[in-house]
């Protein structure tokens, strides 16, 4: 079971998704979620709008592979990954990664693993519109480092 993966232009409600996660599964005591919102980092002119481009087909394949890797590494009872594409406003959720497990250590590790890999392996690109024009968001060096950590920790995090 690959879990639920959705790539969509429509807005989504993280609360509804979390409520549905592992619903009725009496063994799923620990739910960890990551929500990424359209952010204004204050480093440039205020962000008016964000547009997400992606690579249809590969996006779903890449997310599916990442979720499979997480499931191979930790005992997970449910996983949902939702990523928006297209245009969105500041403050709106872009991405939700939510993981249910019997134990919280596995849920935390798997959730962080999925978002770290998504940030370096899933083909999405952000374009910001500001009062000074449009610009492609540059990849952060920290994202590559965060993803590499999971390679180094391969032995440690297996549980």
């Amino acid at each position: 079971m690959a879990g639920c993966i959705r790539v969509q232009t429509e807005a989504f409600d993280p609360g509804v998704e979390l409520d549905a996660l592992a619903r009725g599964d009496a063994g799923a005591g620990a739910l960890v979620s990551f929500i990424g919102r359209v952010r204004d980092d204050g480093a440039h002119a205020p962000v008016l709008r964000l547009t997400l481009e992606h690579y249809p087909g590969m996006t779903e394949k890449a997310l599916g592979a990442i979720v499979e890797q997480a499931r191979a590494r930790w005992e997970l009872r449910d996983v949902v990954v939702i990523h928006r594409v297209g245009a969105m406003e500041p403050g709106e959720p872009i991405v939700l990664v939510a993981v249910a497990s019997a134990h919280r250590a596995a849920a935390f590790a798997a959730c962080e693993f999925i978002i770290d890999r998504l940030k370096t392996r899933a083909p999405f690109w952000k374009r910001e519109r500001t009062s000074q024009g449009d610009r492609w968001v540059e990849a952060r060096a920290g994202d590559a480092q965060a993803a590499e950590r999971w390679e180094r920790d391969a032995g440690l995090h297996r549980e």
Partner: protein, 83 residues
């Protein structure tokens, strides 16, 4: 024939999102294809050279040594910035 896709900043820089072409004779790897595309002119050379870039073959990330065959879908794009 192979299908070559370009995304985001690279798509804007090369001026196209997608093209189909015959796999050039002697081109058997990602790196060899990239060299052929860069040889098209200054715009191509700049877009596909220099800055960090990722390549996917049949929708899976590939190193420049990755093998190519007729019918493949090759995509060029900048480091990803989703999430």
């Amino acid at each position: 024939m192979i299908r070559v896709l370009y995304f985001a900043r690279l798509r804007e820089e090369v001026g196209t999102g997608e093209e189909s072409l015959a796999l050039p004779a002697g081109v058997h790897t990602v790196g060899a294809l990239t060299a052929r595309l860069r040889a098209r002119g200054e715009r191509w050379d700049e877009a596909l050279g220099g800055r960090p870039m990722l390549v996917a073959v049949n929708q899976t990330l590939s190193a420049s040594e990755g093998a190519l065959a007729d019918g493949d879908e090759i995509a060029y794009f900048p480091p990803v910035t989703g999430g």
